[in-house]
């Protein structure tokens, strides 16, 4: 039973559609993609046909217009079955948010409809080998040359890298200005001088591609600049405010999937002449898992609703809280799910070890849990200062 979060009829449609796709199309192939580490194009096509890429994109650009809540519901429902294949969709949202928050009308019209229809995947390029938590340490540059910018450098750990068509990439246009010297550009697969480096071999989310983006005298027209020069870091921050609930939803979905598996197994597994679900030791674990998941869901939905209300200018704190809490709960819940399964849980015969591997990334990307805490504390203190003035 799920608590009643008063979802609208359209939101309910998103949940049902995502569930059908997840169970009918994704579930039969989740072991395959985890094992083979291939990009799940056939499932991506199913997401597209069901309009699942459209949930958060405004209707005027071919979307379903259901905001962050729409994205969260789709991602959560998909990730209950598989948190890796679904990342093709969640990471596309991450790549699309810079366009949603900073693009001009022309750019939105050019790029968003293909993203909404799932015709083109997107990716977000901020991280570099030497610039993870500290984005200002990036060394990729974009030098203006007439009507063009020339990009040089490399981005690493880019989800959907190589498989996406549309990239939002950050580079320094004025290295001397530090945080204010970063700008954001739209790159297209096939742009001259834009290539892909090695594909990472990962612990989890193996159905998702993680590649290096390489820029070697890559010339793009100035109409690819998002916002104004120097606004890059601001765009990145606004993007993360919107996208972190998506990671939280991924974590929440994985956790819920693991809990479902754990309950089912505990009811069937007989030891000492009775199902292990009858032992208080197991019951208390399940009770904790269920309670934490529900608390995580309540926090995430409240944050998503707050962002969608548009009443608050910045939601960095709330987005970070949702991401921090959901991802930590996911790690704990999936670890305990493996514990309940015992030795069987450690084998690839059962899905919980994969859920545990997939969950781990949610405490790392789009800012580690520690970075989320920095974000929360910083904004908390700011709020206190401004309210005491």
């Amino acid at each position: 039973m799920v608590m009643d979060y008063m979802l609208s009829e359209e939101e309910q449609m998103i949940v049902e559609t995502a569930r059908t796709v997840a169970v009918e199309k994704m579930k039969p192939l989740r072991e395959y993609y985890d094992e083979k580490e291939e990009f799940p194009w056939d499932i991506v096509k199913e997401f597209a046909k069901a309009d699942l890429f459209a949930t958060y994109i405004p209707e005027e650009y071919g979307g379903f217009g259901k905001g962050i809540m729409g994205l969260v519901l789709a991602v959560e429902e998909l990730c209950k079955v598989d948190g890796a294949i679904s990342l093709s969709l969640a990471a596309t949202a991450l790549g699309a948010f810079p366009i949603l928050v900073a693009a001009n009308e022309e750019q939105k019209k050019k790029y968003l409809p293909d993203i909404a229809s799932g015709t083109k995947l997107a990716a977000f390029g901020l991280t570099e080998a030497g610039a993870g938590s500290d984005a200002t340490g990036m060394t990729t540059t974009a030098v203006k040359d007439g009507d063009y910018y020339v990009l040089n450098g490399a981005k690493c750990f880019i989800t959907n890298g190589g498989d996406a068509e549309t990239y939002t990439v950050f580079a320094k246009t004025n290295p001397s200005r530090g945080a204010r010297g970063i700008s954001c550009f739209i790159l297209e697969k096939g742009d001259t001088g834009f290539s892909f480096g090695k594909k990472e071999k990962k612990m989890g989310i193996r159905a998702s591609s993680t590649r290096e983006l390489v820029f070697n005298d890559c010339r793009v027209h100035k109409d690819r600049l998002l916002g104004k020069e120097g606004q890059g870091l601001m765009i990145a921050q606004a993007t993360l405010d919107n996208s972190r609930p998506g990671v939280a939803a991924q974590a929440l979905g994985i956790a819920t999937g693991a809990l479902n598996e754990a309950v089912e197994y505990a009811r069937k597994r007989v030891q000492f002449g009775q199902p292990i679900a009858s032992f208080q030791a197991i019951q208390h674990m399940l009770a904790e898992m269920a309670t934490e998941i529900e608390a995580a869901r309540a926090l995430l939905y409240a944050s998503a609703r707050m962002i969608d209300s548009g009443k608050v200018k910045r939601t960095s704190k709330e987005s970070a809280m949702a991401k921090l809490f959901c991802s930590e709960v996911a790690m704990k819940v999936t670890t305990n799910a493996v514990q309940i399964f015992g030795g069987y849980g450690y084998t690839r015969e059962y899905p919980v070890e994969k859920m545990m591997r997939d969950a781990k990334i949610t405490t790392l990307y789009e800012g580690t849990s520690q970075i989320q805490k920095n974000e929360i504390a910083l904004n908390l203190i700011k709020e206190y200062i401004s309210s005491s003035k």
Binding site: E9, E10, M13, I14, T17, T20, V21, E24, K25, E46, K49, A50, D51, L52, A54, T55, F64
Partner: protein, 261 residues
């Protein structure tokens, strides 16, 4: 290409109950779904429309709540949906249903192709499709697994037989019944669901389709359900063993004992 797809709302296969008094299906409180074979009919209609243009009209005869099945069909790509509903249609057997559907189809007019699921999961008769075609006086082909358009006046289809396939050409209009071999039905998209939510479902009653009162509903149904039961399982017969001569002798002896030979 205007395609009419005939569907039926049936109780979900998960929990079918029979009323012990009347021998009819208990429909109250049971989740209703589109008859699974009809899902393939809808999908095939939509695929042909996507290739050849035109429209897909989904029709069903049923109580007002059958409208939900029609809305689902729209979410899966049908253009229009019509509910054929009237109290006097109640209690129809396959003959009366075929008559009612054919009357509605004549009223709708302008169609090139009719597609039905091969049979309904509740009655399992597989009669209504062919029955409707007979009353419309058009050709019908059952158990179709592949449809190929030959221009807009004829089709070539593959029909599944026990020992292989028949390749059949037919002029249009024609009625085809299809099964799960023909395609993989799509999952309703979000936009499809929105269209379904907003769609206006037209209702046709007996008077509108000019149906003969003697041929519809219970009055038009010669079939009477006397009893529905699970036949007792046949027990294993007597086994005679030994060489052929021994068996033959034993067999004749047993038959004459039983007064058969």
């Amino acid at each position: 290409m205007n395609i009419i797809v005939c569907i039926k709302q049936v109780p979900s296969m998960a929990n079918v109950q029979i009323d012990p008094e009347t021998g009819r299906l208990q429909r109250d409180g049971v989740e209703s779904v589109i008859n699974p074979f009809d899902e393939y009919a809808i999908e095939e209609g939509v695929r042909i429309r996507e290739k050849a243009g035109g429209k897909v009209i989904v029709i069903t005869m049923g109580p007002p709540q059958a409208e939900s099945a029609l809305r689902e069909a729209i979410s899966k790509g049908a253009d229009e949906a019509i509910l054929i509903s009237d109290k006097v249609f109640g209690g129809a057997d396959t003959l009366a249903t075929s008559y009612t559907l054919s009357s509605a189809i004549k009223f709708i007019g302008d169609y090139d192709l009719i597609i039905c699921g091969r049979q309904a999961s509740d009655g399992d008769t597989a009669q209504v499709g062919p029955g409707t075609a007979e009353m419309l006086n058009i050709p019908h082909i059952t158990y179709v697994k592949k449809i190929e358009l030959l221009g807009d006046k004829s089709i070539r289809v593959e029909r599944i037989m026990e020992d292989g396939c028949d390749l059949i050409e037919s002029p249009l209009p024609a009625l085809l019944t299809v099964g799960k071999e023909i395609n993989v039905p799509r999952i309703s998209s979000l936009k499809g669901k929105m269209l379904a939510k907003k769609a206006v479902i037209k209702t046709l009653d007996a008077a509108t389709i000019n149906a003969d009162a003697k041929r519809i509903g219970l009055n038009g149904s010669p079939t009477q359900v006397i009893k529905i039961f699970t036949p007792p399982q046949r027990t294993c017969g007597e086994k005679l063993t030994g060489d052929a001569k021994k068996i033959a002798v034993a067999l004749v002896k047993r038959l004459s004992e039983l007064g058969i030979a």
